[in-house]
Amino acid sequence: MSAIPFDDGQSWRTRLAASPGWIVIWTLLVIGAIVMMTPLLYMIATSLKQPHEVFEVNIIPHEPTFENYTYIFQNSPFGRWFFNSFVTSTIVTLSVLFFDSLIGYTLAKFEFRGRNIVFIAILTTLMIPTEMLVVPWYVMAKNFGWLNSYWGIMFPGLMTGFGVFLMRQFFMGVPNDYIDAARIDGLGEFAIFCKVALPLVTPALSALAIFTFLGNWTAFLWPLIVTSDRALYTLPVGLASFSSENLTAWELVMAGATIATLPTLIVFIIFQRYIIRGVVLAGLKG
């Protein structure tokens, strides 16, 4: 895990490192970091404990066991929920990557009347909170028979105003010369987008992909509304129902919580740098 490199002339800011107080500050920061991680550590530790050990404050299980995991996979549709979440999050992410970058590219690189109107209209959607749309979406899903289906879970998120905004910003930075050169070479417009423009914005694409996937993986309100068939729950909705049914078997609840959380932790460990950079990019530009 590498720190952000300090650029030259940061000496004033890092002066603390040389003063005797730094060890106090550092220790406080480390204590804070441990406190931040405590819920996760307890979650994982407890998921490996046997029922009689659950209420002990000690974090390391005496005899770690995977029985809680085998139990919940055998006695509830966790495998199915995992699969549902995976499929819907993946498809939504692919759709967002394709459409948002296509829209962003078109708005950044084509000159046509009405371009600004389209852009502003799409930006306006960022002002409309999801909560305001869920009732009409539910009615729509009910009328079209989309309740309890993957399509029902996915349809509201297939394109996002945020992604359009992010991608447009990045395509603005792509020099027109590349695109013009490709046009002179006789490449079609769609081929230019796929083969010339997209490879130039891979950092933005990877940030958008990670955010969209994580956002959909952890989404709760809409999947809760649109699914009532247990087999079609996504992982968070399934976990919520599973937990309220097993309110006293906390070792099982923690195993379920771990299953819902581990994928995001693994994604973070692999893509740490992209995620933190992505948060900064999206945050500062959004």
Partner: protein, 291 residues
Amino acid sequence: MTIERKLALRAWAFLAAPIVFFCLIRFYPAFESFGIAFSEWNLLSPPKFVGFANFQRMLGDPVFWIAFKNTFLYLIIGAPVSLLLAFVVAYYLDQVRFAHGLIRACYFIPHLTTTVAMAWVWRWFYQPPPVGLFNNLLNTVGFGTQPFLRSTFQALPAVLAPAIWAGLGFQIVLFMAGLRAIPSSYYEAARIDGAGRWMVLREITLPQLRPTIVFLVVISSIGFLRIFDTVFNMTDNGAGGPLNSTKPLVLYIYESAFRAYQMGYAAALTIVFFLILLAVSLVQLRLMRSQ
């Protein structure tokens, strides 16, 4: 056909499907929710136009006012506490080199976790003895058992804590990026002028951080106003109890629409909710800009 015209046609071809999508899935439902808000509708019989009845009902609905109050409690406690904590951590973490990346990761990881899973972890922490971690710890050091989620007084802060905890990492990362963006020459100049730490913080760091602060205040306020997953999963039957003491507006919207099937009333609540979000962010932007 001129090349400009050809390119314009191609642009519209690329935008055709997205325009249909945004109109059908974003704009039309937004307008439709106004239509639903002025009707009485349980989804079974056809909707009936009732004018402002839903809004009038809201004025006399005690649960609405409790949810309204709770929503603002989440906002006015959550946003300042989380921003202050995040700033203090970011300010010092920015100056520390040793294990910097690891410490930052520890603060950031909770931000990426599934809210539902974390709500259950915290719910378990708050259980009465011998189950809950917090009460076990309190008892070990000689303090009495606390009711936490079972108390109408303690439940709201108890629900808010994990929400603050989960959002902290995001704010820290953005504050640190903002701190890094301040040109070092400002600090060098301050050092030459012999300015003290507090002076530098007040005269250089905070004013330079203004864009980051404005952004984070608005974003985190909207986040606390929209609180739902945590409350739903930390209270019995997802009802925002005890006695509605933790129920925010979004949860009341959910209950009205999908438990009571009062679509008209729920839609009216969403419009009020939308106006609150809009007002809060506009007021904040205005205040931050005029200062």
